[in-house]
């Protein structure tokens, strides 16, 4: 059947149609196949008595047909691989069709129907050539205990570890230098990018690119960004808190790492009532009391 050929075989020799020379061979190939499908759909439509069809309708039907055929192909291939073969047989296809709910018995009758139209063979295009993988180095031959029909070894670079002999830079001065340069480069690139993509101000009337300043933009609540520490700072603080600066001063932030953040907001003297949680309920502060409901008026 048509479909089996489409999917199961690597290539079908079809004569080429002159045309879009601009597209790549792979695209040409697919285009030709698709075209044939369209012809098939059109033929079926004519067979069913349609005189004309909208392009969109034909396209949709083509799409459906293609999906169907693709699915049959995929399934058949799966069945065949399931039985450790590499080329699908007729039985694979039959099982697939049955699996997909198709009554196989009707197929011969349908194929032999009288009003069936004969379609010319699809144009021949060259199947796309998969570019050869670049091979590097000498492939290893199989050792004696491996039969020769087993696949060859891949290129050596895919499994061989090549040690490099350059020591990582650990000189303090170089590290600092590198970190500083890197940070400066990142900052400059970032700010330049923002400046390029947004509004800018310039210190020179004639040259607005050498020292671009990101335009000042008023904010609705300016004190928020000015007072709250940025996420970056908070993150840095957490890191330093948990790491080295502990041994320098923080005698308070000892045992409970979970409470670190809480503690940092509270005074270092740290005489916070230990029963704080329970006391919260006891605190009688007028601002914490619930709001009362209005009294019902006497007069109505």
């Amino acid at each position: 059947v048509f479909s089996v050929h489409m999917v199961g075989e690597g290539s079908v020799s079809i004569c080429s149609i002159a045309g879009k020379a601009t597209s790549s061979p792979a695209e040409n190939y697919l285009l030709a196949r698709r075209r044939t499908l369209q012809v098939v759909v059109s033929a079926l439509l004519t067979e069913s008595g349609f005189e004309s069809a909208e392009k969109a309708a034909v396209e949709t039907l083509t799409e459906m047909l293609q999906s169907y055929i693709t699915e049959i192909g995929r399934c058949a291939k799966a069945y065949c691989e399931h039985t450790a073969r590499s080329v699908p047989t007729l039985s694979d296809t039959v099982v697939t069709l049955i699996e997909m709910g198709f009554n196989v018995d009707t197929l011969p009758i349908y194929a032999k129907r009288s009003q069936r139209m004969v379609i010319t063979a699809p144009p021949v295009t060259n199947a796309p050539v998969t570019p050869k993988a670049l091979s590097a180095g000498q492939k290893r031959t199989h050792p004696a205990h491996i039969p020769s029909h087993f696949p060859e070894f891949p290129d050596p670079h895919t499994y061989i570890k090549t040690p490099t002999f350059r020591e990582p830079v650990s000189d303090y001065q170089v590290v600092r230098e590198k970190a500083a340069t890197q940070r400066r480069d990142v900052e400059r690139a970032l700010t330049r990018f923002i400046a390029k993509t947004g509004e800018t101000q310039s210190l020179f009337k004639d040259d607005i690119t050498t020292f671009p300043l990101i335009a000042a933009r008023p904010s609705t609540i300016p004190y928020l960004s000015a007072l709250l520490p940025s996420e970056l700072e908070l993150q840095a603080l957490e890191e330093t808190d948990s790491s080295e600066q502990d041994d320098q001063t923080d005698g308070e932030n000892t045992d409970d790492p979970g409470a670190d953040k809480e503690n940092s907001m509270l005074p270092p003297s740290g005489v916070v009532p230990s029963t704080k949680a329970s006391e919260d309920n006891v605190i009688d502060n007028p601002y914490l009391r619930p709001v009362k409901k209005p009294k019902v008026r006497r007069k109505k």
Partner: protein, 1091 residues
Amino acid sequence: MSNEDLYHKVVGYVELTIFPTVVNLNRIKLNSKQCRIYRVRVNDLEAPFLYNDPTLEVCHHESKQRNLNYFSSAYTAAVSAVDPDAGHGELVIKVPSELWKQGDDLKVLKVYIEFSLDQPKGGLHFVVPDVEGSMAERGAHVFGSCDEKMKIFSCHRFWFPCVDSYSELCTWKLEFTVDASMVAVSCGDLVETIYTHDMRKKTFHYILPIPTAAPNISLAVGPFEILVDPYMHEVTHFCLPQLLPLLKHSMSFLHEIFEFYEEILTCRYPYSCFKTVFVDEAYVQVSSYASMSIFSTNLLHSAMIIDQTPQTRRCLAQALAQQFFGCFISRMSWADEWVLKGISGYIYGLYLKKTFGVNEYRHWIKQELDKIVEYELKMGGVLLHPTFSGGKEKDNPTPHLHFSIKHPHTLSWEYYKMFQCKAHLVMRLIENRISMEFMLQVFNKLLSLASTASSQKYQSHMWSQMLLSTHAFLKSISNVSGKDIGPLIKQWVDQSGVVKFFGSFAFNRKRNVLELEIRQDYTSSGTQKYVGPIKVTVQELDGSFNHMLQIEENSLKHDIPCHSKSRRNKKKKIPLMNGEEVDMDLSAMDADSPLLWIRIDPDMSILRKVEFEQADFMWQYQLRYERDVVAQEEAISALEKFPTPASRLALTDILEQEQCFYKVRMQACFCLAKIANAMVSTWQGPPAMKSLFTRMFCCKSCPNIVKTNNFINFQSYFLQKTMPVAMALLRDVQNLCPKDVLNFILDLIKYNDNRKNKFSDNYYRADLIEALTNSLTPAISINNEVRTVDNLNADVRLILEEITRFLNMEKLLPSFRNTITVSCLRAIRQLQKNGHIPSDPSLFKSYAQYGHFVDVRIAALEALVDYTRVERSSGELQWLLSMVQNDPVHYVRHKILGLLCKNPPFTKTTDSALCNEALVDQLWKFMNSGASHDWRLRCDAVNLYYMLFGLTRPSCLPLPELGLVLNLKEKKAVLNPTIKPELGVGAVMDTPASIGQPPQGLKRKADTPLGSPPEPGQILQQQDDDGRGFNTMEDEDIDMETVHDSQAFIHHHLNLLERPSTPGKHTHTHTHTHTHTHYIHVLKTLLIQFT
């Protein structure tokens, strides 16, 4: 009505309960501004009232008067006319005649006033960010923008009718109805919060049982986050949404301040609760009211911030000190203000001493002393306790000032700050005299009397114990200490000015005597003569000796016998004042003299400036070995004049000494830079401070790279911040910043690494930018070529590169208080000013817009003001002035005028194209009527006018058409008044128009000699109407409807009835005995609804 309008409206209702204390009470005068009064009732009877605010327009319209003397006197008169301490007010309520009988029986009167406030310009400040969302989500809030100064400037009449005086105490019941998402914080105890019937609003009920004056009442409404203090549950903190973590951290310290004050005063905090509210766009940083304080939200900070922490704690301490003295105990009259400011400032100083240490305290005292001395010598004296004899304003106690100090409302802001500064310094002088123990006993006594008085119900005569007068304070001091401090008070309180000493000495070897000469300058402005004791400390080889000398009229020279023989005993250690014994290298000394150094008035027990001459080596010894930070700082400033290798060594040693107070070390940096510049041709070795900085802060292995930041040691943090700033001031022989210094600073920026630091480095980076700014020198320009990128100096290009990057990074990762943007803006202005880049105001204009953080705006405005002066740009001046009129933030408006005064575009002595008639008119109009809603702003405008045009008619005005001066005394006219500016103000008539109307000056010819400012108080005596003093000026301006109406009203309804009004005409001067009040209102209920 638009939404915005809807949200800026307040509807209110005030109820006053009044006990008449005299018969014949027929009028009640209250203070009220801006309010629209709907209805007034007295005991359920409709009462007629009239409303007249003379301060709305000080000098009346068509007047062509443009001299400041005239304005100041008219303004003082206008304020006097509504002065509550003299029983006046803007709102005059006539008690219905049916109730006169009741009043005569001294029965209770109840006054009900309904009012509304629509878009108030002053008093209440609304902050509504322009974003989507409900009011609460937007962080909208409102607060009484009356702060410390505004408070004394009594802005309360701006938001509800009251007796706007500190001496009128009553208890309060306050109710505020606000949107359900909001919290209303006010004075007193929150009794309950109740929903309105539609459940969309809440009413907050407050009761303040402690008698309190209206100016101590405030209110803040907003979607506040609430934090109950973990240590003191009766203390509640409020901040705007999202700032709660900052609030928690910033307030974690408050309880210690509470404990400190309660301990030294041996007195509980007087109110049952305390609230702190942090608001945006605050009028000033700190303002205290009865049981609550309002702060600027910008004081909040996180644990990462170093520099802000002490500042915030200082603000808290100030606010709390004022809770005791200023809120709980308030002043009897304006003349007693100094006592309260003095005491609160003094106990705040004690707190500083305890928390920040004696060094910091003495440093602060010296700073304050230097400030007041500088101000008084420049501007003339500051008078703490002015007395105004019987309304005769011609004996003005402060004729050198361009404003009157009779009322807080007419006072220049700067003067008031200096006034506070002097007040607490004088308290310290009293402490020196009677000892701290007695001082604290006096405070304790005052507080206990007041708290006894406050618990008395409805016995209002008892309540006067809660008011403090100069007299009562002095009496209490003499009772407690038994000492007479009269001379001290006379010298520093009743009299203005500071003392200026010049000292020099010679050593007489034969007699072994130090011959000290102390001269005084008491003729310059702002100085006074000092007669009395003075302490002199002499450090000799054998020890340190104090001598009390007597400064007398004619004796300049004082002989002080020396203890030591000049012959040095080489092995011996030298004992210091504090008992320490040190080894010194005495080779620098004069071999014949045993004197190491001499100090005059080391304890700062005189408000003085001392210019003392001693040899450079003596200053060096003083710097190295004297342990008092004040002495060290004095020595540093003196050493600036001695650029020698020995001075350099002394300064470097101090810099390296870790036990030395860090502020002294910081000062030494700048001195060292100056000395290095003076020694530029002979300087040996690397640039000053470079090797020191490298040793202290750079890596051992690679000295050009700074260590990663670790600011755990604050002393070295401050030093690390300061040294580059000072180093950048170094100059080489070509007067340029040395190349290696600039590269050094650029490297500091490059290698700055804060990743491992517990603290933010924003201030440090800002200072590095400041260092770059300091390194700039004027560009060499050939033929005024246009500045372009191509002809940029290579160093400047590097600097500009850094500034661009910093400023841009700030947009992505803003620093705390945007310190880096602030520094960058300053740097850019400096680049412009030095001609490296084109001078252009547009960048600063965009940063000055509303919507930027306030510090950034101020920095941008500072640059703009500078630009205006340098480029003489009238466009920018206009831009600034329109911002003064239209900006939503009061502080910014105030600040612009302040900056313009500090850096004026021109002055009265210089010619400028900017100085023209239109500008005069514009400023005049602004002072006259434009700033009527804000006392502070009006006084700022007066300051600016004075700075630009002086006291007399501005010289740029064309000669008046007739050019006539009416000399009223001699009854003759003189042509061309501008050349005789010293003539009396009221007498200079500019135009025929004003001559056409009978000018007010004509009226007082009998008792106003020319040359003294006319004061309407004088009319007050002549005419039989107390309240009309000022209004007589308006008699002629009958086209003004309201005035006319009010005049008619007074004439027909009140004046004809020969009954005294509220104050009574015979008590128009204020006395300490508080007799002017003829009624006492006992309970005041205020209901306010925000719609």
